[in-house]
């Protein structure tokens, strides 16, 4: 099977998925607008708190905005392309994974092309906050143009890390079926926590967010160099092999989990 075959097939599946989604236009538009409103409200909360207290442990509002934006964009990337990995529970409880397993396509690809989720609201909001915070940091001379390519790089590696965490969490579903609460912990709570600088948290929590659920590598660790010039550029480059390792482990676990799929009775 050539790469061209897979790319073509992926394109066909994505197109079909978008066309299916467009059957319900109002739902799509409402969802998009609401998502954007929620995102902005969330950042406003942080902004208000920070404005009131000024900097947190030496992190300025711009810097926190940067953490927030990078996390939002990585997450948007992950959720756009792997929406149904996050929603694997639906497939497990209904046994819908059966259909995907009878096709000559890798399950992960089938799953990731099922319901591609366009998230223009999150993209716009993340982009706007990133622009605002980087603009502010550049005007004060804290960062230079080189921060821009670093940031794009970090958003992508971050998406891979979030995907790996999401995949590993979803895989647990092959044993316990219902994974909502676990996802709240490993995905939602963890992602929300690292919107603030990790320095805020007690060291045990910091270790968890770096080692057990490595979300800290999405935005906090790279920003230490990108924004503050600490350690060195290896901090940013080193994240790529790390993300690769997480992805590898996630995929291994996923493969193993698939052999434990129990389907449903009929």
């Amino acid at each position: 099977m050539s790469i061209k075959y897979w790319l073509d097939l992926y394109a066909v599946l994505i197109r079909s998925s978008i066309r299916s989604r467009m059957q319900y236009k109002l739902n799509f538009m409402l969802g998009t607008v609401l998502a954007a409103v929620i995102q902005i409200a969330e950042f406003l909360m942080i902004a208000i708190v920070l404005n009131k207290f000024g900097a947190v442990k030496g992190w300025s509002l711009y810097e926190v905005g940067y953490l927030f934006a990078v996390m939002t964009l990585s997450k948007t990337l992950y959720r756009t392309f792997a929406s149904d990995v996050h929603h694997l529970e639906n497939y497990l409880t209904t046994g819908e994974l059966d259909q995907l397993l009878t096709r000559p396509v890798p399950i992960l690809m089938a799953l990731m092309s099922q319901n591609i989720r366009l998230m223009p609201g999150e993209l716009l909001q993340g982009g706007a906050i990133l622009y605002w915070s980087m603009h502010g940091l550049m005007s004060s001379g804290q960062i230079h143009w080189i921060a821009l390519p670093y940031t794009v790089f970090v958003i992508f590696t971050g998406a891979i890390i979030l995907f790996s965490i999401g995949l590993a969490t979803a895989t647990v579903g092959f044993w316990i079926t219902r994974i909502n609460e676990l996802q709240t912990l490993t995905e939602d709570a963890a992602q929300t926590a690292v919107r603030y600088p990790l320095i805020l948290y007690p060291s045990w929590l910091r270790s968890i967010l770096l080692v057990v659920i490595p979300v800290g590598f999405v935005n906090y660790v790279p920003s230490l160099f990108i924004l503050r010039g600490e350690y060195g550029s290896w901090l940013v480059y080193g994240i790529a092999p790390l993300a690769g390792l997480f992805l590898y482990l996630g995929l291994k676990f996923w493969k193993f989990g698939l052999t434990r799929y129990q389907s449903t009775g009929s």
Partner: protein
Amino acid sequence: MKGDIKEMSHAQPMIEVSGLNKQFRTPVVKEGRFAGLRTLFTREYRMKEAVKDISFTIHKGDFVGYIGPNGAGKSTTIKMLTGILHPSSGEVKINGVNPHQQRRQVAKRLGVVFGQRSQLWWDLPVKDSYDILAHMYKVTAQDKEKRLKELGELLVLKEFWLTPVRKLSLGQRMRADIAASMLHDPDVLFLDEPTIGLDVTAKRSIRGFLKKLNSEYGKTILLTTHDMDDIEQLCERVMVINHGELSYEGSIENLRDRIGLPTLIRVTFNGAYQLPVPDGLVLPIEVALDADHTFRIVEANNREVHIEANRQQVKAMDILRLISGWGEVADIHMEEPDFEDVIHRVY
């Protein structure tokens, strides 16, 4: 050389199953707060043996029915054959390839239809699903057109060609699904309750089509169903599974014989008749035909006598000869045991 292989391929094993076992291990679900998390760390499990040590071989061109009561393990078996579920132990080979090691390679040569749920893209027109599947299975444009034309005629797909799948009637959806499973011209077809919930006409048209697939196109078909007419009209061979174990494998006639359900003989007499039993005895009663064999009189009224006899043991002619001595026989009617009853006995 290639031709030789084709020639010999008739008795070629298509589906080989040996020592297949499947146990489901489900954690005992907790209740209350953080139920999900607590379930995750629980050490309590319930074990259920869904399939126990099943072995069989299905050859190329066979049409085999796989039957058993609800929860007997039919679907679990099918799901293991198609590579959806991994067996706890044992091995499956489809045309020599293990679907659990090379799922995608096997899937390419497999058609699967689940009567309970559609394989098609729910929100898109039927036609679009075929386009996607053609892409997926690398069916060329010409082949696709050719097959859809054939399938379209046999299954009358044109009438709902542009209708979204979610708006199809059950019968239409089933036809669309079967066509979809045939688009890539698979060697083997797995059908899990393809006639479930369909009306008589729809069932008939689907059966006709399946028959054709098997006899004219030489497809190997394994079918599960609860409809005994499906089995009787389509399958040469049946396998019965009960409590996860194969309890019968062979032809339908053999199955009937093995169970030995009695044939019902209704004899109508012209005028009075005399039963060879004392008056006042309660029916049913066993009557001796000769030294070793008996049959039963189950009912007798003023003109008619109902007799049950196991035709494996006694010859109908012998019984008739005996009966003709009771009075003047006007009419005889014989009823073979209903297949549904046969199956009921096996379960």
